[in-house]
Structures are given as structure tokens and as C-alpha cells.
């Protein structure tokens, strides 16, 4: 098949292969006529290139019809046709460095050739920001890329990353990430150094189809740094800073307020936990105790939170010749979280060697990192009978009772009522919960250029990661006496994953005949194997003097062991072709065939395809050179994308293990569907790229429609089958939206640029068809035809009845009732998925001084705030937690208008699924400010010194009660807030 395809290509190439080589030289200067050192001079469409020397001179051998591309950091790139000349002198102008080359799947392309919707994230925007995890750094950086950070724990992953909306309910929703062509697990991004990244491309439409069955949620292509031709460059970067508490908008009761509130409740016969303090009539049975309580005023924010220190050191050495370019870097990054004992420490090492040797070129690289996270809480502890809540120190800020002391008079930890008898300080001082993450991503690629433009290439990539989680509750901690065996608990789980990919391609990229016809074709195959295994153990009855767990198996409490493994494989064939006529008209098309081990036996191979076209109007002769319309490009694309990230068990009819009366047995457990296949997304995109008024205003607008078919659903089965349901491909969902990216130079002269930039995306999701399946509830929301995914499903809340103090609800007929009945739930309160998202900011550069400010926003979504019912009078918790001062407005007498129900209403916790707790999730956040001074004319051997200061997560505007609106998902419950991080840094270049 491939031979047939290659034959005409080779013939075409032969027609254009008899081109003479020619030597070109020249000098590159800036606008002031000063020589520019280290400017990259590249023959367009090839790897052939050089850099300018100390006098700005260059020499390069090229074909006589070549186009030279001159690019330099901080300057606009220029393309110049050789046209038979032997000397070409160039003047580069300062300005925004326009990204002209975009990494697109298995190829790189000139921006003008692209037909799809691809955003490139400028590394300027993410470099040096002291957040350890790449996905959190990408938040707001590309239109349509929506990231919810989930937690401010240093090094933690984002909880939701969605490109152009959610396309799956039971399948994966995360984008496909590639680092230098190697598919990687996003979960362990924290072990990689974001500063090692050269560029990031986000494929949002059918252009992602080149990744076939992995592409439905979009593709994020990360390219790490490589060496450049030239003398050795050394970059040393150091950064130091502190993390501070973010703002919050909650106001908790003081000791005085809480005691008087509890006194009132006791007098009303409410509050079971108050017996020691107040009698049933509100009088105190023990006035001495009450007095002693009055003197305690514990501030739990002070007890639980702190200022954290961040520091980072980085050394990078790069350089090389055409034969050997190298880039080596090492980084140490350490960050303390704002919750005590939450820390993150990381060391990374990166090396890349690349170059050309005759007709061969090679690229060998390794990104390795090891990180250690200390977590202040133990969310996975199965023996915590009180549930997770008491082991979350963030809840302690809210719940801690101000009249309780952390320590008893003898110095030991008090069992706090607010912590369910545990003690948060004991937890983070004595418990251990650490995650150790080792990650290595490596790739070796070799390519051979048979004739000009025709290359064969093979590469092998590996993504290895090992995650070790360690949890220890020591025997002498308060909770250590409550676990089975009453003497501590130790759990270690080790998970490793070894994924490899082998890719072989044949590609051709060259002009045919004259320069009007550019052909760019790639065909290849790929093998991917993802394997993982994990094992772990739990030990009890620890010896306080030996916490290793050794000997624990001899005790009466049996240790637990666990293990699992997984393996997935994929085989792919792909072919992508593009043709450009006269720099104006681009057409492209591609097809990919994927076979995956997760697909059912009847659907082993999936076919995915895409077509696209674009027109660069400004390259037409009638617009060329127009000063007010510098770029106008119109793009259209359409294609199919798959989601193979589906339940691996779905295709298996299986037996499971059980026992009867001490005998091990097997039973039919699940019914599989041999027809299981990928979910298919059909993606259409129309876009416009433009640059106007002497390139002062640059932007793009995209409109898209994504239709996901065959998404996975639980289809009900007759119970006589032995199963309640089966995962089947059945259902259609749509995401539609518009994305705008814009930047404008408000002011621009030789020394100063002021640029305003921003992006905005709107996405509307709709479940179109459930194929006969009834609406179903998924967590707190309802999935129903005609509703956006994630629509909250709650009983309408009217208010607190001033006459009785009871909460009033609406029934399905619109009548007001005091009865809370979940059959009255409606979907009128929006979805948790934001409709609007984006970012805007201002960049200022005045000679060597630069500054920028960044804002993020999301809007059009609602959150079920599960923290609120706790504060709407949870009578059952009176005496065992603190409350918001809002509760001082509790309804006490008829006629009183208030939001807080009276005692007679009982516990607010019994009516959580109510619109009372739905809050607008919209927010605007001042995400970052940065200012610095970069000295480039340093005496001696130094290239530059860069001094800067920056601050992250400074302020937000939001109507949500409590906490950081960025961390919230469909519900919110005591999430670790993103801290304010202020850092100072100095970079040196030699």
C-alpha cells in the first residue's frame, strides 16, 4: 500500500531534485544598525540553518530558489526569497515575535498553511510562574481551553481540563497530551519542569484527527527545548518567594458569639451536643466550665494555615553545531503550601541531543523528574470512620470551635469536638501522607533524507512513571488508637506505568516544479502499549518505636494487601496530506486507522478522517503589501475524532471471585458488549485569522460545532440477565461555541510596546439524544435530552417563612410548601460547566523594562455549594462545630424576615438538594502580575541579567460563599484554596 502511494511522490520529487546549491552570506542588524548575534537563519521547509556570529555575519548553502527565514527573540521574523542573490543583508525590527512554525501532530508547519483551529500557547506566559503543574499553568492561556484547578495543594493536578466542552459521560474527558511525540499521562505533570518547554500547541478541531481514536477531547502537543547552533549558552535562574493566604469571604463566629448562639439553641431545646455547657432550658449546669470556655478564642486559620516559602534554582546549558546540538538542564523547585505540612519538592533533569549527520538527523531526549509531595490530609484512609471530612484541615478552618484549645493543659493534643474527636494539628504534625513521583519521558528519533524533502523516520518513546503513596497514622496520634488494632495504621501503595510508542513515518515536504506548488505528505504507523501495575499493603498494630510495619503481620489484626495490573495496546496507520498553491490556497486531508485492545471484538478498527482548506487572502496580489490589512486568512475544517478512553472492562463478559461458607467460588459478574467501540466526535470549524493596521491588531475568531455520537451510556438490562445495566455506545451530545483571541499594540515605537491581549470562549453543551435511555441522575445533576450536561437537579427554594421560620419550597405545580420532597426537583438552576471562559492582560515593554498583568474569568455556570447547608443551621452539629455569623440572624419570632431557618425546621442537612445552595459560579480573578528588568548589554561574557518580581492569585471577584472559585467543580466541599504566591527572581545568561 505504501509503495503504491510513494511511487508518484518519488517521481514528482525527481522532477525537482536537480537544483544547484548556492552559497549565501550577509549581515543581520537591528534598527539602529547594530549587529545581532545569534539570529537563526533557516532555509524554509528544511532543517538547513545557521546562526549569525559576533559581527552579525552568516553564511549558508541553499538552493537558488530557497526562502530564508530570519528569527530572533524579541524581533519580528522575516522571510526573504533568495532569487539567485549571493548576499542578503537584513534589518530586524523589534516587536512581538510571531510564531511562524507550529507543531502539528507528526509534522511542523508554517502558520499560514494551517487549515484547522490550533492555538499556540506562548511560553512567555507560563515561564517562571511558580506553579509546579503544567495543566494549572495553562489555565486561560488558549481560547476554549477550560481548566479548573481543583486544589491549591502545591504540585496538584487540575481536576478538569476540557477543550471546547465535555464530550463524554462515561469515557475520558481529558485531552491527549504528547511530550515530544510521546503520549504521556497528565496525572504526573508535576514531576516535569514547565521551564523546559519550548512550545505548546492545542489542537481543538478536526486537525486533531491525526491522533484518531485519542483525539476527541483535543490534543495538547508539548515540545521541549532543544539546543541551537552556536556557542555554548548557560542560563542560570533562581527564584524565591512566599505563599500567602488567599482572600475568603466568610465570617465565622467568635467564642462570645458562638456561646450565645448555642445558649439560644439550648433554650429552644435544640443542639444535642451541648449537654455539658447548657442544660435544656438554656441555663448552664456548670458555670465554672462556661467561664473557662469564654477565655479561649482559638483562631483556626492561624492554627492551620501559614506562610509558605518557595524557592527554585535552574541551570541550563545549550549550544552546538549542525552535527550536535545539545540542551541540558537541571532544576530544583521547592514550595510550601499555605496549609501546614503541605509541601512539594521536585528535582528535574533534562537532556536533549540533536543534529544532522549527512543525510541523517537525530533527536534524542530525556525529561526526568522526581517529586515528593507532603499532603496535610488523608483522604484515602478507609478506616477513618468519621468519613473524610475530619481529615481535611480546610474544613477545620470552618468547623473548629473557637472555645476549644488545641492542646490540653499537660501539652498533649485535645480531642476536638469540631474534629470529631480528632485534632487537625495532631494530624499534620504527626501523620504522614506523602506521594513520591518518579517520571521519565524519553524519545529517540532518527530520520534519513533520501532526496530533498523525502524523509523516512523512526522513533521510539517511553513514558515511565512510578507513584508511591505513603500514609502513616502513628500509634501515639489521637486517631492511632481508633483504627483496627488500636495501634496505628500504615499504608503504602506503589503504582508504576510503563508506556511506550514506536512511530515510523515516510514524509515528503517540498515545492514541486516551481515554488507555487508546495506538497506536504506524511504516512506512517504507530504502535502504542500502555502497561501499569500496582501493589500495596495496609498494616496495623504498629510498634510505636518501629513504624515500618515489620512484625505487624504477627498481630491479631490482619494486614491488607492489594494489587492490580493493566495493559492496553493500539496499532495505527495514518496518512496526512496537504497542498498549498501559490502561498494562498491550502487544502489538507488525512485519514487514520486505529485498532485498540479496548475496543470490542466486533469493532477492532476505527477509521477517522479530516479535510480542511484555507485561503490567505492577503497573499493575493490585490491585497499584498496593504498596510492596513496585513493578514487575512479564512479556514474551514471538518473531521471525525475518536475517544478510546473507555471502560476497559466494558467488552468482557466475565466471572468474578467470591466465596461460600469458606469455599472460594466464581460467579458471573458482568455482561460485556463485544460491539463496544470508541465514541465519535464530528467536528466542524470555521475560522478567520487577521492582522490589521500595520500588524498592530492581531487576532482570530473560530466558530465550531462538535457532535459526539455513540457516547457511552449505562443501558438498563432486564435483571434476569444478572446485571442491572450495560455500557453501550448510545447517545448524542453537542458542543457549540465561538472563540476569539485578540491582541492589540496600544502603543508601539522603537523602545516601547504596550499590548493588550485577551481571549474569550463561549461553549454551549446540549445532550441531544439518549437513544431510548431514560433521563438519569449522575451525582448531583440530571442527564436528560434537551438539557446541558451537568444541569443541577434540585427542589426550588422560596425562602424562610417569616410566620413560622420554616423553609419554603415549590412543588411541581408551583405551590409553595414546607415539605421538602425530592420528587419536586427541577433543572432550572443551570449547569456546573462554565459557558464563558477566558483571560485578558496587558503587556508593557519600555526598553529593558517589562511588565504584565493577567486576569482570568469564567461565567455562566452554577455551583452546588455543599458547605452552605452546614451553615444554614445544621442542628445536629450544634456543639460540635462553628458557624458563620450569618446564623446570628436565625429566625426567632413570627414576622422576622431572614435567610436562616428557625429551630423548629430541624436540620438543614436533610434538604441539601435544594436551589437554596445553588450559587452563581462566575468569577473574575486577578491571576498574575509581573514586572522585571532585563539588561542585555552586560560587560564581559554575560548575555543578559533579568530581575523580576511577580505575584499569582492576587484577588478574585465572585459571589460564591467561601473559598477560591477556581477550585470548584460541580459541588464544592472544603477545597484547598489556591494561595497567593509572590516571588522574586534573577536570571543570568552567559
Amino acid at each position: 500500500m505504501k509503495v503504491k502511494f510513494l511511487l508518484p511522490v518519488i517521481l514528482m520529487m525527481l522532477a525537482s531534485s536537480g537544483i544547484m546549491a548556492q552559497k549565501i552570506s550577509g549581515v543581520v542588524t537591528d534598527e539602529n544598525g547594530e549587529a545581532l548575534i545569534g539570529v537563526t537563519v533557516l532555509e524554509k521547509t528544511t532543517n538547513n540553518g545557521t546562526i549569525t556570529d559576533l559581527e552579525g555575519n552568516y553564511t549558508i548553502n541553499v538552493s537558488d530558489d530557497a526562502v530564508l527565514v530570519f528569527s530572533y527573540v524579541g524581533y519580528e521574523s522575516q522571510e526573504i526569497e533568495v532569487s539567485g542573490r549571493s548576499e542578503i543583508n537584513v534589518t530586524l525590527r523589534t516587536g512581538i515575535e510571531l510564531t511562524t512554525v507550529v507543531v502539528l501532530g507528526y509534522q511542523t508547519k508554517e502558520k499560514e498553511e494551517i487549515t484547522g483551529a490550533v492555538s499556540t500557547v506562548s511560553t512567555d506566559l507560563i515561564e517562571q510562574i511558580p506553579i509546579a503543574n503544567l495543566d494549572n499553568l495553562l489555565q486561560g492561556k488558549a481560547p476554549g481551553l477550560v481548566i479548573q484547578s481543583g486544589s491549591g495543594q502545591p504540585g496538584s493536578n487540575a481536576t478538569n481540563v476540557a477543550i471546547r466542552g465535555i464530550t463524554s459521560i462515561n469515557g475520558g474527558t481529558a485531552p491527549y497530551y504528547l511530550l515530544d511525540g510521546v503520549p504521556i499521562n497528565a496525572q504526573d505533570f508535576s514531576a516535569l519542569n514547565p521551564n523546559d518547554i519550548e512550545s505548546i500547541s492545542v489542537l481543538k478541531d478536526a486537525s486533531a484527527s491525526i491522533y484518531g481514536s485519542q483525539a476527541a477531547n483535543g490534543v495538547i502537543i508539548i515540545t521541549s527545548k532543544k539546543g541551537h547552533i552556536g556557542k555554548t549558552q548557560i542560563d542560570f535562574k533562581t527564584q524565591f518567594g512566599i505563599s500567602l493566604r488567599p482572600q475568603d469571604n466568610i465570617d465565622l463566629m467568635t467564642t462570645e458569639e458562638l456561646l450565645s448562639f448555642e445558649n439560644y439553641l439550648a433554650s429552644q431545646g435544640a443542639g444535642g451536643g451541648l449537654g455539658a455547657v447548657y442544660g435544656p432550658d438554656g441555663s448552664s449546669p456548670n458555670p465554672a466550665l462556661l467561664d473557662s470556655l469564654r477565655n479561649i478564642n482559638t483562631n483556626y486559620e492561624d492554627v492551620i494555615l501559614r506562610k509558605g516559602i518557595t524557592h527554585s534554582y535552574e541551570l541550563a546549558i545549550s549550544g552546538g553545531t549542525e552535527n550536535l546540538k545539545y540542551y541540558v538542564s537541571g532544576n530544583y523547585f521547592s514550595q510550601q503550601g499555605i496549609v501546614k505540612n503541605s509541601n512539594f519538592t521536585r528535582g528535574t533533569f533534562k537532556t536533549n541531543l540533536s543534529g544532522t549527520l549527512g543525510k541523517f538527523s537525530y533527536d534524542i531526549g530525556m525529561n526526568a523528574g522526581y517529586s515528593v509531595s507532603d499532603l496535610p490530609s488523608s483522604f484515602t484512609n478507609a478506616d477513618a470512620g468519621d468519613g473524610d471530612i475530619y481529615q481535611n484541615p480546610i474544613s477545620g478552618i470552618y468547623w473548629g470551635i473557637p472555645y476549644e484549645s488545641i492542646y490540653q493543659p499537660d501539652g498533649s493534643f485535645s480531642p476536638l469536638l469540631g474534629a470529631g474527636g480528632d485534632n487537625w494539628v495532631d494530624q499534620f504534625e504527626n501523620w504522614e501522607q506523602t506521594e513520591k513521583n518518579l517520571k521519565m519521558v524519553g524519545r529517540a528519533k532518527l530520520s534519513y533524507e533520501i532526496i530533498r524533502g523525502l524523509k523516512v523516520a523512526s522513533s521510539i518513546g517511553l513514558d515511565y512513571s512510578q507513584l508511591n503513596t505513603h500514609e502513616l497514622i502513628p500509634p501515639d496520634a489521637l486517631f492511632g488508637a481508633q483504627v483496627p488494632g488500636n495501634s496505628g495504621r500504615l499504608q503504602n501503595i506503589n503504582t508504576d506505568s510503563k508506556d511506550y510508542v514506536i512511530t515510523s513515518t515516510v514524509s515528503y515536504r517540498n515545492y514541486l516544479g516551481d515554488k507555487r506548488h508546495l506538497l506536504d505528505i506524511i504516512a506512517g504507523n504507530e504502535l502504542i502499549r500502555d502497561g501499569g501495575e500496582s501493589y500495596g499493603y495496609v498494616a496495623y498494630s504498629l510498634n510505636p518505636k518501629d513504624l515500618s510495619g515489620s512484625g505487624a503481620s504477627e498481630t491479631t489484626t490482619t494486614p491488607g494487601i492489594s494489587g492490580s495490573f493493566s495493559r492496553e495496546s493500539q496499532v495505527s496507520l495514518f496518512l496526512n496530506g496537504a497542498y498549498t498553491f501559490n502561498n494562498r490556497y491550502n487544502i489538507s486531508g488525512g485519514i487514520r486507522r486505529d485498532a485498540s485492545s479496548v475496543f470490542g471484538d466486533n469493532n477492532k478498527w476505527g477509521n477517522f478522517w479530516n479535510v480542511g482548506a484555507s485561503w490567505v487572502a492577503t497573499n493575493e496580489s490585490f491585497l499584498k503589501g496593504n498596510k492596513n490589512l496585513n493578514l487575512l486568512k479564512i479556514r474551514v475544517s471538518y473531521g471525525t475524532l475518536g475517544n478510546a478512553n473507555i471502560d476497559r472492562a466494558a467488552k468482557f463478559t466475565s466471572y468474578g471471585s467470591t466465596s461460600y461458607n469458606g469455599n472460594t467460588g466464581q460467579v458471573p459478574s458482568t455482561i460485556g458488549d463485544p460491539n463496544v467501540k470508541w465514541e465519535t466526535t464530528k467536528s466542524a470549524n470555521i475560522g478567520v485569522d487577521f492582522e490589521i493596521i500595520n500588524r498592530r491588531i492581531r487576532g482570530s475568531v473560530d466558530i465550531y460545532n462538535k457532535r459526539t455520537e455513540d457516547f457511552f451510556q449505562q443501558v438498563d438490562l432486564s435483571l434476569t440477565t444478572g446485571s442491572t445495566s450495560l455500557l453501550r455506545n448510545a447517545g448524542t451530545m453537542r458542543n457549540r461555541g465561538i472563540e476569539v483571541g485578540l491582541s492589540a499594540d496600544l502603543y508601539r515605537d522603537k523602545k516601547t510596546t504596550i499590548t493588550l491581549r485577551g481571549n474569550w470562549a463561549m461553549n454551549k453543551n446540549l445532550v441531544l439524544d439518549l437513544e431510548g435511555v431514560n433521563e438519569f441522575e449522575s451525582g448531583t445533576f440530571l442527564v436528560q435530552e434537551g438539557l446541558p450536561y451537568g444541569s443541577h437537579y434540585v427542589v426550588p427554594f422560596v425562602g424562610i417563612d417569616p410566620a413560622t421560620g420554616l423553609p419554603l419550597y415549590k412543588d411541581t405545580e408551583g405551590n409553595v410548601t414546607t415539605t421538602f420532597d425530592i420528587n419536586n426537583r427541577t433543572t432550572d438552576y443551570g449547569s456546573y460547566l462554565p459557558i464563558h471562559s477566558g483571560n485578558f492582560g496587558l503587556d508593557v515593554r519600555i526598553q529593558n523594562f517589562y511588565a504584565s498583568v493577567d486576569f482570568n474569568f469564567m461565567a455562566g455556570h452554577t455551583i452546588l455549594n455543599l458547605q452552605l447547608p452546614q451553615y444554614s443551621l445544621d442542628i445536629g452539629s450544634v456543639g460540635i462545630q462553628n458557624f458563620l455569623t450569618d446564623l446570628l440572624d436565625i429566625w426567632t419570632e413570627p414576622g422576622q424576615i431572614t435567610d436562616i431557618q428557625g429551630v423548629a425546621a430541624g436540620s438543614a442537612l436533610s434538604a441539601i438538594e435544594s436551589s437554596r445552595y445553588i450559587e452563581d459560579g462566575s468569577f473574575l480573578k486577578l491571576k498574575g502580575i509581573r514586572a522585571g528588568y532585563r539588561i542585555t548589554k552586560v560587560p564581559g561574557n554575560m548575555r543578559y541579567i533579568n530581575v523580576y518580581a511577580q505575584a499569582q492569585n492576587l484577588y478574585f471577584w465572585s459571589s460564591l460563599t467561601g473559598g477560591d472559585p477556581e477550585t470548584w467543580d460541580n459541588v464544592t466541599f472544603y477545597n484547598y484554596p489556591n494561595p497567593r504566591i509572590v516571588t522574586f527572581g534573577v536570571d543570568f545568561g552567559f
Partner: protein, 486 residues
């Protein structure tokens, strides 16, 4: 010269293509899928006779649906009273407010019983295809499979269909009787109750013929005697009195079982592995909780009545508890009083105390005394009062020390047989259905205090003597017809 270059270039391309081709030759193996851990692929599940044995143990695991047979007859009948401490467990059964979608147990038990049916049908599909196992060994397994299939369907019919006599000849809708393995597309429709009984009798007869020894060697597994006990119960519900007597005599004469008395009676309810007069019970080793999907918090027998010693769920009906003779041994096992916690109700049902109140206990299914009492009922219906009284007295004599025959006659004899059945089989999964069988309503008597609705009586032949078909099944299977009233 140029030609040579072309050849050379072709070679390069060929070598890459060849490399790719080599990759693909192993493609089929490469894509071989290891199932996720914890999964046994069905194709590998029956390879040898040991797998069959393993699958039989697995099938028995599903007999734990009997938990709800016992719970329902306690909660919805008149032997127990909802405790004031009760946090909600079983309330909809006590108040008879279940419908097709408000009761997780209604769905969970339906699923559980059909899990058992599927498990045994899969064994029967595969048993003659596997390696190993003698003819006798295979017959022993097959016999248990047929018997378990009959048992599951009979119990499904008792739960989800009106009693056999509701239309005289059982011509009304019952439940689907599945003699073949279901698959994902199965949408069976209901058989009539008569068909269900006939198929069950057929399966039990097949089982009877396949078994060899007529003895109970281990009551946690189905034996030939257990097949007879099932048959006898089935004929009792069918009101085929002659068959009840015929099979009852076969059990008494041939099984070697004796009515337990004194400490033997007490001990058979403790985890001491004393089989006593048990013919079949669901075996649960002490300390092992069983789980039923969809039902949480109900993982052992004791939970039906109390959570440990702290929360009382159902207390003994006071009138019933007071009705026992002073010399009767049964109250020792049925009732106890806890001092201290809980705060409100201190009378406990003691039958499933196991190792303390939170312990696990085997689930009773069939005992010898039931065989006697069913025969007494049959003799009475056939107007043979002397024989009826003889069977009744045999049970009383085993339970009441110094018992002297009372010598009832007529309706007094009928009522005495019914009362004795209530006492003897209390909390073992009979009472609610016995009342139904006898055409009686539920009357919880003067000590009934309902905390929620005041329902202390359920009229005879009320539609709620039958459970609704689970809404899940109604949604997924258009061939099903919902039971009257739901």
C-alpha cells in the same frame, strides 16, 4: 547512474516499509487484551471440573437472597414490632408502603435470585464440556443446580407473584422461569404460577433422581433430603395435601433426622456448626459479612432486628412473646432483654445474635419441624385429625418440657397447628406468607404502636401481600406486566 540512485533510494524506502510490515505481522498478538485485574473472562471460566465446583460455590453465594425472605416475613408480618430506635431500616415493609421504585430490596433481591438462576444455568451449560470429574461427581453438581434453580424460582414466585391458590389453578401471572442462560438481550416474560410450580417440580424431580444418598451430610448444601423439603413446601403452597404427606413421610422415615430438643435445639442456632434438625441453611462463616448489591448497611442477619447492642430495629411483638408456655424452650432463643443501651426499647429478637448482637449467623431455610407442621396441616385439611394431632404433638413435645397432649379438635386443632407454626418458625421467613396462604390478614394486636402511620393491620388478600415488580425491570423489559395494585 541516475537509475542506481533510484534503486538505492527505493531500498531505503523499502527497508522502512519492511520494518513497518514486520511490526504488523505481530499485530494480532500485540492487540491481545489482558482483562482488567479482578476479572475472569467467561471463555476461561469453565475449563475443568474444579471450575465447575468453584462456580457451584459461587452460585450458593447468591442464596443469601434468603436474607430478605426472612426480613420481609418479620417486618411485614405480625411477629415483630418496629422499634422506636429504628432509623429507617425496613420501615416501608412494616408500613406496607412499598412500591416499584421506593424499595431497594425489591430490586436487589429480584436481581440476586436471578443471579442464582444464571449461575446454575451457566454450570449446566458447561458441566458436560469440561475436563475431569466423574459421572457421579457431575450428577451431584447437576442435582444441586436443578434444585437451586427450583428454589430460586419458587421464592421469586412467593415474593413477586400472587399465591398459587389466588386463581384456583395458578393460572395467573407468576415470574419468568428461566431454564436457559440469559444474555444481554434477554427480555423474558412471565410464566403463569402454575407453569412456575410445574417447572420447579420438574427440576426438583430431576435433582431427586440425580442424587444418590438420602441424607443431610452438610446442611449448608442442598441434599436429596433438601430437595424433598423443597418439594413438600411447594406442594403445601399448591395445597396438594396428599403429596405433602407422602413426601413428609419419606423425609421422616429415611433422612435419619430427629426433632432437636433441649440444648441441641439451642445449639443449632449458634455458630457451633451443630446441624441439629436443619435440612438446608445458607452458610455464613462467623465474622464474614455478606453483601447484597444495592443494599448498604445490611450485611448480616442480626441487622434485620438490631445494629449491635446499640440500635434496636425490630423488637418482638409483645403479645406474641407473651403467648409461649412457661416450659417452652423457644423463648430462650427468640427473645432477650438488653440493659443499658439502647435507650428506648430493650427487648431484642435473639435468634440471629450469633457471636454477640453484631455477629453473623447462618440463614435458616428448611428444618425438620416444618416438615412435621406441614404434614399436620395437610392431615387436617384431609380430615385426618388424629394424624394431624400426632405431628403437632411431636413438635410440641420436643419444645416444651413435660408436654402433655391437649387433644384439640376442629377449628381449635387448625388454629393450634397455625399457632405452633408461628412459634416454631418465627423469624425464619414464613409468617407473612403463611398468613397469606391461610387467607388471613395481618393483625399486630393490641400492643402494636406504629410511630409513623398507625397501620397495625393489613386486610386479607390485600395486594400488598405481593411485592411489586422492580421499576428497573419494568423499564428495561417491556414483556413484564406489573402486579395488581402497583
Amino acid at each position: 547512474m541516475k537509475l542506481n540512485i533510484i534503486k538505492y533510494r527505493y531500498k531505503g524506502v523499502f527497508s522502512v516499509v519492511l520494518f513497518s510490515a514486520l511490526m504488523f505481522t505481530s499485530c494480532n498478538n500485540f492487540l491481545d487484551e489482558q482483562p482488567p485485574s479482578g476479572t475472569i473472562i467467561e471463555e476461561n471460566s469453565f475449563e475443568n471440573f474444579a471450575d465447575v465446583q468453584s462456580a457451584l460455590y459461587g452460585a450458593y453465594r447468591f442464596t443469601t437472597y434468603n436474607w430478605f425472605v426472612i426480613a420481609l416475613n418479620a417486618w411485614a408480618g405480625d411477629n415483630a414490632q418496629r422499634s422506636r430506635d429504628n432509623g429507617g431500616i425496613g420501615t416501608i415493609y412494616f408500613n406496607w408502603t412499598y412500591n416499584s421504585s421506593n424499595a431497594v430490596e425489591v430490586e436487589a433481591i429480584y436481581l440476586r435470585a436471578y443471579n442464582l438462576v444464571l449461575a446454575v444455568n451457566k454450570i449446566l451449560d458447561n458441566i458436560d464440556l469440561v475436563e475431569g470429574g466423574t459421572e457421579d461427581e457431575k450428577n451431584e453438581v447437576k442435582a444441586q443446580c436443578y434444585a437451586l434453580r427450583a428454589m430460586a424460582h419458587f421464592d421469586l414466585s412467593r415474593l413477586y407473584a400472587a399465591k398459587y391458590t389466588a386463581t384456583g389453578d395458578g393460572g395467573h401471572l407468576g415470574i419468568p422461569y428461566l431454564t436457559e442462560s440469559t444474555n444481554a438481550s434477554s427480555l423474558p416474560s412471565q410464566n403463569t404460577v402454575k407453569e412456575v410450580y410445574n417447572l420447579a417440580i420438574q427440576d426438583l424431580t430431576t435433582a431427586y433422581d440425580l442424587f444418590t444418598d438420602y441424607a443431610v451430610s452438610n446442611p449448608t448444601f442442598i441434599s436429596k433430603v433438601a430437595v424433598d423439603a423443597l418439594l413438600q413446601r411447594l406442594y403445601l403452597y399448591k395445597e396438594d395435601w396428599a403429596k405433602v404427606i407422602e413426601i413428609g413421610n419419606r423425609i421422616i422415615d429415611n433422612s435419619g433426622l430427629m426433632l432437636a430438643s433441649g440444648s441441641d435445639y439451642i445449639n443449632m442456632y449458634t455458630p457451633s456448626e451443630n446441624p441439629g434438625e436443619f435440612i438446608f441453611k445458607v452458610g455464613l462463616p462467623a465474622g464474614v459479612n455478606f453483601s447484597i448489591p444495592l443494599i448498604s448497611g445490611t450485611s448480616n442477619m442480626g441487622d434485620i432486628f438490631a445494629f449491635g447492642t446499640s440500635v434496636n430495629n425490630y423488637i418482638p411483638n409483645a403479645e406474641f412473646a407473651a403467648s409461649f408456655d412457661a416450659n417452652d424452650i423457644r423463648p430462650d432463643i427468640l427473645f432477650t432483654v438488653m440493659n443499658g443501651s439502647p435507650t428506648l426499647d430493650k427487648d431484642f429478637v435473639n435468634k440471629y445474635s450469633g457471636t454477640g448482637f453484631s455477629g453473623t449467623t447462618d440463614q435458616p431455610y428448611a428444618r425438620l419441624s416444618e416438615v412435621y407442621l406441614s404434614m399436620a396441616e395437610a392431615y387436617f385439611e384431609l380430615n385426618q385429625p388424629a394424624e394431624a394431632r400426632a405431628k403437632l404433638d411431636a413438635v410440641r413435645a420436643a419444645r416444651i418440657s413435660g408436654y402433655v397432649s391437649i387433644g384439640e379438635n376442629g377449628t381449635a386443632l387448625r388454629d393450634a397447628i397455625r399457632t405452633e407454626r408461628r412459634k416454631e418458625l418465627a423469624y425464619e421467613g414464613h409468617r407473612f406468607w403463611d398468613l397469606s396462604r391461610w387467607g388471613l390478614g395481618v393483625d399486630r394486636g393490641t400492643t402494636c404502636v406504629d410511630l409513623a402511620t398507625g397501620n397495625c393491620t393489613l386486610a386479607a388478600d390485600d395486594f400488598r401481600f405481593v411485592m411489586p415488580i422492580p421499576q428497573h425491570e419494568m423499564n428495561a423489559n417491556p414483556n413484564m406486566v406489573q402486579n395488581t395494585g402497583f
